[in-house]
Point group: C2
């Protein structure tokens, strides 16, 4: 005989069905709450197939859902992954968010997101906010300036860095193989006949990623004996564009190849070039990082170093899960995982902008 839940509002009129508690389910199934809990978490201590079926039936019929807060309190696990993104306007970030969302869901976790907007203060605030909320682990795409705080956080709970490293390196990092991607773009430009290469960067962007790409670019030029330089655009439209015009004019006559260090720089480059004419100046070849939708369209297609965002996301979540499992399994003294740097190979999309 079905027993009413203690909290059921069952006046004859108000048929607001009860929020069931685990003990209500247990009572209806004729077992103890402990057994229902075991069922819910399908624990090693098995139960009779018959008991299992009876519990399943009751849960099915009542539509019972365990309250997460109670579960979290006792088990001190939330199945929540905190994500801090520096700049969600960047399509890399949105792609990453989608990837993380999928990978996390596959492991039964949800995402708590915070967006720093490239503001270190907000990033720091997000850090404590998410930790206070009790996330099991943290994915951080840092904007810089919080290296100590992040390292400290990594000491208290699992943290995996996304794309951007922190100074002292004691934290897991998943990133693209930037050096090889740079080489790939240089390849493409060289093959298209460029004699002189420029890597376009932005003054405001001092991220480790930019630095890594710039270094790789310089190394690559050296290795091949090519001429070229890193051109840093000033911030905010006009000045920067002026600087770019000058660069292009300086090299007029030479076969120039340009690499935009990221998608935003590429847009500014496009703007600048638009002032020179609707199509590319003769002999000018272009390539860029970050595979944005407009890359297919501008200049009839821009050769692009595309990052494998889905795989990056998957590996981030995988690594984070490893750490979370370790934390919840071991006593936490000896079993520290050594920090790990994971590089996910991207690939070059060859398009019209580097055809001969």
């Amino acid at each position: 005989m079905p027993k009413m839940a203690q909290t059921a509002d069952n006046w004859e009129t108000g048929c607001v069905m009860a929020q069931m508690r685990i003990k209500d389910i247990a009572a209806e199934a004729g077992v103890s709450p402990a057994t229902v809990s075991r069922y819910l978490n399908n624990r090693p201590g098995q139960m009779t197939e018959e008991t299992r079926a009876r519990i399943a039936a009751v849960i099915e019929r009542t539509g019972y859902r365990p309250r997460a807060a109670a579960r979290n309190l006792r088990s001190s696990r939330t199945n929540l992954i905190g994500v801090i993104l520096a700049d969600i306007a960047n399509p890399f970030s949105s792609a990453m968010l989608e990837g993380l969302s999928v990978s996390a869901a596959a492991r039964g976790c949800s995402l708590m997101t915070a967006i720093s907007g490239n503001d270190p203060a907000k990033e720091a605030e997000s850090l404590t906010r998410l930790i206070d909320a009790g996330v099991d682990g943290l994915v951080v795409n840092t904007c810089g300036g919080n290296d100590e705080a992040i390292a400290a956080a990594a000491g208290r709970l699992p943290v995996v860095l996304l794309d951007r490293d922190v100074a002292d390196g004691g934290v897991d990092l998943v990133t693209s193989n930037n050096r090889e991607l740079v080489a790939g773009l240089v390849d493409a430009l060289a093959a298209a006949g460029s004699e002189r290469l420029c890597l376009l960067t932005e003054a405001s962007d001092d991220s480790p990623v930019r630095r890594e790409r710039a270094e790789a670019f310089a190394d690559e030029l050296l290795r091949r004996g090519l001429a070229g330089e890193v051109v840093t655009l000033a911030d905010g439209g006009a000045t920067g564009v002026g600087r770019l015009d000058k660069t292009i004019r300086d090299y007029a006559g030479k076969r120039l190849g340009l690499i935009a260090v990221n998608g935003l720089v590429f847009l500014r480059l496009t703007e600048a070039l638009a002032q020179l004419g609707p199509s590319l100046p003769a002999g000018l070849k272009i390539a860029t990082f970050d595979d944005y939708p407009w890359n297919h369209v501008l200049f009839g297609g821009v050769t692009t170093a595309a990052q494998d965002t889905l795989t990056i996301a998957e590996r981030v979540v995988e690594r984070l899960s490893e750490r979370i499992d370790v934390v919840t399994t071991t006593v936490g003294e000896a079993a520290k995982l050594a920090p790990k740097r994971i590089e996910i190979p991207g690939h070059i999309e060859h398009r019209a902008s580097t055809s001969r």
Copy 2:
């Protein structure tokens, strides 16, 4: 004299400082846990300025942070807002996420995000996942196909729809003033001399937003006595583009004006036009919805109906907070808020593509 927390690991060697509990703080401050709790939530039942200071000092010194799970369990509030986005690749969504993040943070809430990727099944799954996680309220940018489930959810907890409505309308909605934006774009094209207007849509997109814009477009043509039609592109590149070419050829000689119903359609339009030549066919004018970064660049700037994403986000969170407050304050029987439809005015960015 400071008293050790019960859970402190204080062997002489392992100086892992304790996770403090509220009772530890209470003990150190010489008050009861209840008082500390009152302090933490600055409750109406005031306390002596002196007590307050003593508690504050202890908390400050120990760096105590209350465990969210425990708080959630007892108070059955989580300060979490669930967000379901249909398509994060859409810059409208990312802008919205940032706005929501800011507005929520201003109210002390964090965001739990789920991404449906325009898949109704995943949307439904996200719905239950977020509700099970105990969010206080839900922001849904639905991809359609779950109208009943969403309405049901809205019956159980506060829900505000973002940009896209559900069928039976009993749920709060915040959206842009699409009709006026359509009128604005038609204005711009007409002023640029277009005699014949097309609204370009996609077959796969059957969202209420598309329908609203299409209806407004038809109405607007009627009202002004302009000729034109809604052109639905087939899905997947080639066919759709062919259809578009045909449209353009059909109208050759007439002064044609095109409106892309959203940013993705605009990109496909751009692709198609690129096959015709690097610059716009003579007399062809273009306008689009959604203010994406590339809009500044393509065709030297495309006239755009820009939505006020920040305000939309702010109003969504505001409305959701109202509902959450009502739920937690009242007994929940009589005090139902009537569903509300909130329109946030966007504006038209006039750019080169509709100059004469």
